[in-house]
């Protein structure tokens, strides 16, 4: 099992210190990312998706901190590495693509500079010419003519910039690319092309991609597995087919029902009642209970365990478990290589 898993997150908590107190944007979350898969991470805005993505690179700073958690990446716990070692891993093994391609490139550097800098930062011995050749090959592969490599970010379109961002992650053959809402600011046609490209790259380079998005359609289109987050907790994880075909967690069900469908007969779109809770004062028990149509007494009192409900489909819901009926937790189940 350990060979199969590239990145194993265990009990990760990310805290933001605010004036109102510590806010846990990611609270005790465990997740496995398998080699070569595209894993979609979906959830409402503010549920901690992006924070989770950044924490995988230990990119948090300022008010954010990781009080507990293990980040097992390719056989080592990144949390145990000194933070000074992280730049060596970022870019080389873990890449990230940000939400807004308009602002995620340095306006005073050309595309070539971006790429050669990335390459030479990790492989100082590579000559300028060699780095350039690699950069040209790479952008050419991503569908940007190599003549344009000398251009600056403002001269490129949004889709091209996003491809440049991807190329930065690919420049050193990162094993895992965390794409944080990469298509949010792109129009649907560019988005579709970009998703096709992601899929192609995943197959061609054996890339593993964590796709953070709030767009269920995007997940359904390209993801192998789906993880659903709600209020800093993991609600449900499973293969895309199973989760979309047979969602277990009431939140996932509500989420899927909320997606507009052209074939929908209902006059009005399904709306989930209530609002996402404040993470400063999360509800007791299951965090979804104030909005849950199936809420029971126990839901308000105790937090459900995140465990298997059907094979590889995991969910945190009292509907599928009884008090004291906890399965062995994931933590013990997983052996690490």
């Amino acid at each position: 099992m350990s060979d199969n898993i590239l990145y194993s997150v265990r009990n990760l908590t990310v805290e933001y210190k605010t004036r109102g107190g510590a806010v846990r944007a990611v609270d005790d979350v465990s997740l496995d990312i398998r080699r070569g898969e595209i894993l979609g991470l979906v959830g409402e805005s503010g549920c901690g998706k992006s924070t989770f993505g950044k924490a995988l690179l230990r990119l948090h700073d300022g008010p954010a901190s990781i009080p507990t958690g293990e980040l097992w990446f390719d056989g080592r716990d990144l949390m145990k590495l000194p933070i000074q070692e992280m730049p060596k891993i970022r870019g080389a093994e873990l890449g990230m693509v940000f939400q807004d391609p308009m602002t995620s490139l340095n306006p005073v550097q050309s595309i070539l500079d971006h790429l050669t800098e990335t390459i030479q930062a990790h492989e100082p011995k590579v000559s300028n010419a060699a780095a350039r050749a690699r950069a040209e090959e790479l952008v050419e592969r991503l569908g940007i003519r190599h003549e344009r490599i000398k251009e600056y970010p403002h001269q490129l379109s949004g889709g091209m910039r996003q491809r440049v961002m991807i190329s930065l992650a690919l420049a050193l053959r990162a094993k895992l690319v965390i794409a944080d809402e990469p298509t949010t600011s792109l129009d649907v046609i560019v988005e579709a092309k970009f998703l096709d490209l992601l899929k192609e790259l995943q197959q061609e380079f054996g890339l593993t991609i964590l796709l953070i998005t709030h767009n269920i359609g995007v997940v359904a289109e390209i993801c192998d597995r789906v993880a659903v987050m709600y209020a800093a907790k993991m609600a449900e994880v499973g293969s895309a087919e199973v989760v979309f075909g047979n969602p277990k967690h009431p939140y996932t069900q509500g989420l899927l029902n909320s997606v507009p469908n052209i074939n929908l007969d209902a006059k009005e779109l399904y709306k989930m009642g209530g609002e996402p809770p404040s993470l400063l004062h999360p509800p007791s028990g299951c965090r979804f209970h104030p909005r849950c149509p199936f809420a029971m007494d126990i839901c308000t009192q105790e937090e459900p365990a995140f465990q298997s409900v059907a094979g590889e489909q995991l969910a945190a819901c009292w509907l599928y478990q009884k008090k004291g009926d906890h399965q062995p937790s994931m933590k013990k189940e997983v052996s690490r290589g």
Binding site: G91, F98, L105, N106, V108, E117, T118, A121, A169
Partner: protein
Amino acid sequence: MANLKEKLPVTPPEGTTWEVELKQVGFVRKLLMARRWYGADWWFVAVSGVFVLIFIIVALVPGLFAPYSPDALVGPRFLAPGAYADLSVLIVPANSSVNELKDLAVPENGDRPTMAVVQGESTAGDLNTQAQNIDEQLKDQAGGLRLRPVFDRYTSLADALQAVVNGTDRAAVVQQKEFANIASKYPSLREASSLTGAKVAGGFIMGTNDIGQDVFSRLLWGTRIALIIGFTSSLLSLFLGVPLGLLAGFIGGMFDRLLSLVMDSLYAFPGLILAIAITAVLGPSMLNIIIAIAVLYIPTYYRIVRGQTLTVKEEVYVEAARSIGARRTEILARYIFPNVIPSVAIIFSVNVADAILTGAGLSFLGLGLPPTIADWGIDLARGQRFIQSAWWMITFPGLAILLVVLSFTLMGEGLTEIFNPKLRDR
């Protein structure tokens, strides 16, 4: 159908024609064509740029343009701009063979020539100086001739001239203008030559000051001092303020708070007063002025760079840089610094102008340079005492300061407008 097509306005592919053109031309043409785009700002920058260039050239080689040395006493005192000096001329009998002062020289033991001068005129001084000069030269030559005139002082011009007519004196030294007025009354006399050099006869465009120095020459040499003070102190505060601002913005925390406190305290002082205090402690010298002014302007750079750094630090591309493994130093040098520096370049220009003004202010108060140096502030202070009698002494250095400050400021402001169009709407 064809008719309708003709009526449709032809729209260029993107933007107006000149915008399209602007994208296709080279740097120089672009610079020239930009005036259509930037309008008044372009002209401000162009005109003030030319002025700045002129000032810089003059500051580099003032000797090429200045007719005299700034320290030389080249003319009479308080000569108004364009006015001609009263020349001292040698008056001799018409039949005399004497043409120059030198011709009056006699052998070592001969009778010393007696010469008539008018009491209370500068002519006696001129004669004395010139005669001594000639005597020195003659002493070195082998001829054994000496020129040591005996002065006969008369109360009026008429008396002096009469003495020459009578033969009491060999010659007279009088003011040219006054002699010209009454020359017709003395047909037996003629004007031989002027005692002082022909150059001085041309007058001075900006007049002379209280000790007979050329105001124009001092003005040109003063440009050098002004620009040295302006540039070096601005550069010094730039080299200190920019790194401090970068570090404070980037590191943040306690370091930032402490440094900002110090900088804000500096900023809170009225500028000139702080500079006065610093020079008063350090003593007047070029270096100390530069240090005082540099200290004054460090907070300007610090605050702007710190603010910009705080903004740029939060940009996604900085986070993206971290996500591809860039180190902190790399982020600072390659991501933050280049994005911060344009605003520094612009305030630099305005800052130079300000520094020149402060430097002149310090010199004006006597806290700047030693009074022997040709400096606008010193000339202003000097001219201020004679503002009623010799307006030119204070006016021209004042105008020079105005022009230099205006040029640098307009250039800086114009460049801001051009490079930072966001500011326009404000």
